[in-house]
Structures are given as C-alpha cells and as structure tokens.
Amino acid sequence: MIEVIEPGFATTVQDEGRPGHYRQGMAPSGAMDLASYRLGNALVGNDPGAASLELTFTGPRLRFTQAATVAVTGGDMPTFVNGREAKAWMEIDVSAGDELSFGFLRSGVRAYIAVSGGIDVPAVLGSRSTHALVGIGGFEGRKLTAGDILPTGTVRNQASSLRKLLPEHIPAFSGKVELRYVPGLFSYRLSTRGIDQFNGRTWTVTPNADRTGIRMTSTEGPLEFVDGERPFGAGSDPSNVVDAGYPVGAIQIPSGTEPIVLSRDAVTAGGYFTVGAVISADLDRLGQCPTNGTVRFVPVSIEQAAAARQASAKYLSAAIAALSH
C-alpha cells in the first residue's frame, strides 16, 4: 500500500481510460500523456493498462508500506527517495517505509508514477481512470488528499537489474508547442481570412487549463467569420452552431477569440463551432502544454494524421523493446 502524506496539486489515478461511452456523454479520461504513462508501466514490468498516478504541476509526498519498484516519467520534476535525488525514466527500488517526494516542475505539466503491480483501485466501466468532474473511477472518484491509503497490486517477480529508457527515447517537452489538427466539422464558419488568422497566430496557453480543456489566448482581435443568417437553433453569436458532438481534441473558439482544445475529460457536445480536432498523435503533447507556453496550430489531412499515429505507435514499441537492463 501507499500512504499519501501530501497530495500534490492535482494527483489522480489514471490508466488507458474508458472508451466506448462517449455517446452517453462520458469522456474517456485516461492519462493526459499516454506515451509517458505507458513507458512508466513498461519500466516497472507491469502489464499494459495497470493504473498509475498522474501528477499535475506539483508532486505528492508518499510513503510505501512495502517494497516496490516505481518509475517516474513525463514532465521533468525532480524526484527524491528519502530526500535523496533519484532519476526519472528508470526503475527505482523502494523499501518498506521509504518516502517519495518531488521538487519544482522544470518542463511540461504532468508527470507519472508507475508502481509495480499498479494502483489497485476498483475498475469502473472497465477502467481505473479518475473522472473527477463526474466523480467516478480512480480513488473514490476524486483527486488524492492527505491520509488516503492507496492499494497496490501484487508485485510481480522483478528482473535482476533495473530497467531504463534509452536517452534517445526520452521525450523533450518544449515551451513552444506545435499541434497538428484536421480541419472540420465547422471550419466553414470562418472566412478564408479567418482560417489564415487561426493558422498564422502564435497562441499563449492561459492558466485556465485542466483535464477538460486548455484555453489559449492571443493579443489580436477576434477571427473573421463568414457573414449570414444563423440557422434556427443556433445562438446569435457568430461562433454558435446547432448543438453537435465535440470529439476529444476538438478546437472550439467561443466568439472567435480564445480557442479551447478539449482533452481527455472533454465536454462531449455543445453549441460552439469547432474549427477542427487535434490529431490523436498530438494529444499527449497537448497534455504537456505548459502554462504561458506558446502553441501554433498546423492543419493536416486525415492521411497525415493516420501516418503520425503510426509513427507514434512505432516510437513507443521501439522504446519499450529497447528498455535496457
């Protein structure tokens, strides 16, 4: 078991998520940076899908009641075992009574703690991911608080030496992020000039960002819309449409001023036009967009999105296959 001494800013249990319930208005949740989460599980020898802890901005202080191996992945956050610094992206042996703590975040937004055996909270609709807005999954459907006791799964036989990610496979988290997106469903609401404005601007990530969505701003005025009468059922604002679904990664731009990119705890439908959706290969990058960092949106085709998705999968299997002892 793991005792939570201090919870950190917003620490939740996450796994691969619970896809398949979107039509009932249930977002999939799951790790905001799936690649870092998956690499963590591979590092500690867990089966894919074991639940980990997702840390946001600041880390928790945890005490282990029994020996385990852990791995810290994702954004760069100094890690300490009993006050002594330990390395990220490799297995760390902890003994009963050891304390894990963290320093100030140096890049990205989120880090992951994978634990041998996984965090063994009950699965809800097939997933241990926390959906805090709905209050289901994870540890009692919420972020951790001091005093929580986390059950962990049976520790598997550990290899004789510690696994480590090769340096060339460690992702870099930049303060300047490019997000590729496929235009649609409502990009026709913007004029040609409006689309050029959207693609041409450098957007700044605001502090209004969480697992539901990431809001961005710019110093320039609203994007240019196409004029014309709004259909029955849409609102009066030029960014309104008749309610429709929002895919994960959807980019909505209320009043054409501040884009909000919906993430893994997305609102699943509503009445804002969406200029497009960030491709799945770049959702991890979205989850690591640092506050006050900059974002540029790059339009791509469905074929390019599929190729990027394959390239991501290939990188991940190569990185996992090359874990060295």
Partner: protein
Amino acid sequence: MNDVHQIKTGIPGTFYRKPSPSEPNFIEEGASVAVGATIGLVEIMKSFHPVTADRNGVLDRFLVEHESQVAPGQDIAEIRLVN
C-alpha cells in the same frame, strides 16, 4: 546561517497580492510574517491557491508584481530571517 530566504510558488499561474480586487494587500513590504501566513494567491485552473510563508521573519520585498504570471519554482518574495 543564511539570513535571507525566498518564498517560492510550486504552481504556475497569475499572482495576486490581495484576496480580492476591493480588499487591501495580504501583507506590505517591511511587515513581520510567521510560518503559514498567506502572502498572496496564485490563480490556476479557475481556482485560487495561497502562497504561504515557510519561515518566520520580516517580508523584505516582493520579487513579482501583482497580477503577473509566475512559473513553478519562481521566487515570490524575500524574507529576512529573525533569529
């Protein structure tokens, strides 16, 4: 012993010196502070989080402006420690 100490923020966001626009600052430069005292707020994810003193002493000066953007690990204020 080092007699100056920096109070840091762990979270990024917008820094405020006062609890709300219509209220006075939490603390002025030159005033005494005790461990746990709130010296400002950081707004992130639509919620406000106190920045608290982790030492006793005199708050010599703020190192960031009211309503400015701060980053994780950034120094917020300097305390002169009182032995």
